[in-house]
């Protein structure tokens, strides 16, 4: 008997704990969040001093509300909770209970059922008059309010505080915040920033008690915040990160999905917008200019060196039918041949110039007997060969020769290309039917299109092809090089390429940016193909890009090294004459400064700031360094940077003060902006815009009346320049309420309603 009693006692002991906590049987008090919304203001948080009373049943709440309405006495027996400043009230109540809401601004009290919901959104209307109409709209979104990020160039810094609500906080649980950055224009995912994790105290301890648990394999551990979550205790996770390498023309938002999980299940999950699309751009109006230095071309001049050139071409020579003699009636024969001879002579006559290889191929047309054509092709090739070999200095040992008879397939292809498809098909049919070349000719000659069409094609096939390679060591003069660039279509088209030293001459002489860009790109490609990118070409190409607002930071990066001092010269091997040529200059001031300009244009102030360390220490480079530090957000933490940039101009002073975004600096910014000595033109849109930002921060209550009567800065600014209206609509420096209210003001202004009574 005693044993049985003990068994019962133990069972009761075991379940008693849960019973006490109300986990087995329902009806116990739960933590409930009530969010009060102002229905008249578009369900914005209700910022009134109200009290929420909790009752065990809805009928008790009803009776208390009746009593309050009659006597204005607050219920004495009920638990009373105050509503926080953001219109949220956390309370403990039975899920089947009721609540009563009352306050000085309410003539009548509200009462309602909890109805088993742990998150209530209560929408109240008619504040200040009569409140009986109440909607419990839906589950309240319990995430934090979106906080605009701060845009510094192509970087968006953001921070927010995520509240860990008591009703979800458990010591044996983990809350995970998984952010995702989205492109506001396209809606595409831009990046996945790192998550944030808060573990409960017990969760943290007991993770290590798991079978096979190795903390190093827990990928979330590194993102765990130091604070711990404890059961039913409020906590917060400070969310701060930055999105980088953003498109300067786009805006971005960051949403966070979060979930609470215990050892077994995810017991709550939701998402919220952490960072809205409208970002603050605090240094939007900062006056700042960065220029690159001129490069010294002499540092990079290339000496003329024997360079191998590849020169392909063809001669369309007309021969007397059936003979290996040029047709004396066709003057172009002699012009072409003379031009080639002249080119070769100029190479051979130059100092150390040699033609290293000359390949020649003679071709005859396929009409007539094949054996005769074969012989004729050889003779014609030999004719051209002898002509070229006769040039003084040409070495026959470097010449190769070959001859062939064009086949009818080439004729068919030419016919097809000339849209003579039927004739081409007939020729092909004959080729397919017999492989005998003579038989092919006899049958093709009988085709109806032979006389009219095919005979026109045949002269094109009687030609001589050539290709030669040469080396030349004579330095062309800058004028010669420019002349070649201006007159030789092969050089212009890129069919023939300049030597690097020739490009150097052209960089000095060609002023047209488009032409210079073409030359710089070609020179850069040539030098890159040679395995040694040429800084001078890269510099000119970068400058050309900058002139048309394009950036490519990969161009100059090979010539910049962070482990080297400014203008570090790397020397090559000693020359026979004892001098040491400069092989390459690392961190040339001109190149580094051009790279900085590119970084600034791309909004990459952080890397731009890093590059300033490679510039020689001058007053100018120090100024640049401080400005880039400021543009990268350094003004927030460094008083020295703040003061320096503020001292550079009155506008910069106002910009820096307003960027600080706190009451003291706002007052200072307004003082500067109001100073007519500093800003004589008080109607400058920039001044008005900055004033609108600063004064808007001090407004406790924003509506269209306030914005049109008491705070006219933005209206006046937009009246002068409508671009500022578009700017303001996407500017996180104005709250969402402000923007909405101003939209109405602007609409009224556009409709001519602002002069109406009441405004």
């Amino acid at each position: 008997m005693v044993g049985k009693k003990i068994v019962w006692l133990l069972l009761l002991l075991f379940v008693g704990k849960d019973f006490c906590q109300g986990q087995i049987f329902g009806g116990s008090d739960k933590l409930i969040t009530v969010k009060l919304l102002n229905k008249d203001e578009g369900n914005t948080p209700l910022l009134e001093s109200l009290n929420v009373f909790v009752f065990n049943t809805p009928s008790q709440a009803y009776e208390a509300a009746q009593l309050y309405d009659e006597t204005s006495e607050w219920p004495k027996s009920a638990k009373n909770y105050a509503v926080s400043q953001d219109g949220v009230c956390s309370l403990t109540a039975p899920l089947k209970g009721g609540i009563m809401i009352a306050g000085l601004s309410m003539e009548k009290a509200y009462y309602g059922r909890i109805n088993g919901q742990m998150e209530l959104a209560v929408s109240l209307s008619g504040m200040g008059r009569t409140v009986r109409q109440v909607d419990i709209t839906a589950k309240a979104k319990l995430g934090p309010r979106p906080q605009p990020g701060k845009r510094f160039g192509n970087k968006l810094k953001f921070e927010n505080d995520f509240p860990v609500l008591p009703q979800y906080a458990q010591t044996n649980a983990r809350v995970v915040l998984a952010p995702v950055a989205l492109d506001c224009q396209e809606g595409d995912t831009f990046s996945i920033p790192h998550p944030w994790v808060m573990d409960g105290g017990q969760y943290k301890t007991t993770q290590r008690r798991r079978m096979g648990y190795d903390e190093e394999n827990d990928s979330l551990i590194v993102y765990r915040v130091d604070e711990t979550m404890e059961t039913r205790q409020r906590a917060s996770i400070h969310v701060a990160d930055s999105l980088e390498k953003l498109d300067m023309d786009k805006s971005y938002r960051c949403d966070i999905k979060y979930w609470y999980e215990d050892y077994n299940i995810v017991y709550f999950q939701d998402s919220f917008n952490c960072v809205p699309c409208e970002a603050r751009i605090p240094l939007r109006f900062l006056e700042f200019k960065v220029d690159s230095k001129e490069i010294n071309p002499e540092d990079y001049r290339k000496n003329p060196q024997p360079e191998r050139h590849n020169q392909p071409g063809s001669l369309s020579l007309t021969f007397v039918v059936g003979k290996a003699e040029l047709d004396s009636n066709d003057s172009t024969n002699f012009i072409q041949l003379d031009k080639l001879k002249s080119e070769l002579s100029s190479i051979l006559n130059s100092e150390d110039g040699t033609v290293q290889q000359f390949d020649i191929l003679g071709q005859s047309s396929p009409d007539g007997r094949y054996a005769v054509n074969e012989r004729l092709g050889y003779d014609r090739m030999m004719f051209a060969f002898n002509e070229i070999a006769s040039i003084p200095g040409m070495d026959r040992r470097n010449m190769t020769k070959e001859s062939r008879v064009a086949d009818w397939e080439q004729v068919a292809d030419s016919l097809f290309a000339d849209s003579l498809k039927e004739c081409a098909e007939q020729v092909r049919a004959i080729i397919r039917s017999t492989s005998n070349k003579d038989a092919q000719f006899l049958r093709i000659a009988k085709l109806p299109c032979y006389e009219k069409e095919i005979k026109k094609i045949l002269p094109r096939l009687r030609t001589v092809y050539y290709q030669y390679q040469y080396e030349i060591n004579r330095a062309f003069s800058p004028i010669e090089v420019l002349e070649r660039w201006q007159t030789d279509k092969d050089f212009r088209s890129g069919k023939r390429e300049f030597a690097l030293y020739e490009f150097g001459y052209l960089f000095d002489q060609v002023k047209d940016p488009k032409e210079l860009e073409i030359l710089a790109r070609r020179a850069y490609r040539v030098s890159k193909n040679m395995g040694n990118p040429w800084p001078l070409a890269a510099y000119h190409l970068a400058q050309c890009y900058l002139k048309r607002d394009t950036c490519d930071t990969t161009l100059l990066s090979p010539f910049i090294r962070f482990d080297r001092i400014p203008n570090f010269k790397r020397y090559g091997a000693q020359r026979p004459d004892g001098t040491r040529p400069v092989e390459q200059i690392i961190n040339d001031e001109a190149i580094v400064s051009t790279q900085i300009v590119m970084m600034v244009k791309m909004g990459n102030f952080e890397e731009g700031y890093g590059l300033t360390g490679l510039l020689p220490k001058t007053e100018e480079s120090e100024k640049l360094r401080k400005f880039l530090d400021c543009l990268n957000g350094g003004y927030e933490d460094s008083e020295q940077i703040r003061n320096y940039v503020a001292s550079t101009s009155p506008m910069n002073c106002a910009v820096i003060y307003s960027a600080m975004n706190n009451r003291m600096f706002d007052e200072m910014a307004m003082e500067v902006l109001d100073d007519t000595m500093l800003f004589p033109n008080q109607n400058d849109p920039k001044i008005l815009y900055l004033k609108a930002i600063v004064s808007g921060r001090s407004l406790d209550f924003v509506d269209e009346y306030v914005l049109s009567e008491d705070n006219t800065y933005l209206l006046e600014c937009c009246k002068q320049d409508e671009r500022y209206y578009r700017m303001a609509r996407n500017d996180g420096d104005f709250t969402e309420d402000y923007r909405k209210a101003f939209d109405k003001v602007w609409e009224m202004y556009k409709n001519g309603e602002l002069d109406a009574p009441g405004f």
Binding site: G3, V7, T205, Q207, R208, R209, M211, G212
Partner: protein, 181 residues
């Protein structure tokens, strides 16, 4: 009975080597210590929700009384919340005991073998320290000599004269455990 105990210990040892080296805790039951019954427990985590606990207790003179007790109690524990050595658990325990107790004028000398259910709760005091409260109830089979002090000598032969079943609370305690990683 001795052979049974030996078998149980062997099985426990073999079982321990089969599992991967995991979280291991040593503990002592404070209640038993107060009763002057030295005891040592060891618990080995074998799964996300599972652990194996083994208790050994031995006593020669409990409060000066002529009482001898030796018991081994292996136990499988299931942890409800998903982590071992944390919060609620239920255990399936087997017990093997040898005793020689003099209670007033009565003497109980024999062996017992049984099984029972344990219910308990483990508080995490720190990373390495736990406090466990548990109670266990089960059925045992005993085989003993039951006689009175002063019985005639010939009565005290080696034969057991009493055997049977009983439902008893064979475990009740508060343990402090130290986790050896």
């Amino acid at each position: 009975m001795r052979r049974s105990l030996f078998l149980m210990i062997t099985m426990l040892c073999l079982g321990s080597t089969a599992v991967r080296a995991q979280l291991l805790a040593v503990k002592t039951d404070a209640l038993m210590d107060v009763l002057m019954v030295p005891n040592l427990n060891a618990e080995l985590v074998v799964g996300e929700r599972s652990s194996i606990n083994a208790s050994v207790l031995f006593s020669h003179k409990i409060y000066g009384k002529d009482m001898k007790l030796m018991a081994l109690m292996p136990e499988y524990r299931f942890w409800f919340n998903g982590r071992p050595m944390t919060r609620e658990f239920v255990g399936l325990a087997v017990i093997g005991a040898e005793y020689d107790l003099t209670w007033g004028k009565e003497v109980y000398n024999g062996n017992a073998l049984g099984a029972g259910l344990t219910f308990g709760y483990s508080f995490n005091l720190s990373n390495r320290w736990n406090l466990e409260c548990y109670g266990s109830v089960g059925a045992i089979y005993y085989d003993q000599k039951h006689y009175y002090t002063g019985d005639h000598e010939e009565y005290l032969d080696n034969r057991n004269n009493s055997r049977g079943y009983a439902v008893i609370p064979f475990k009740l305690g508060v343990s402090f455990s130290y986790i050896i990683r």
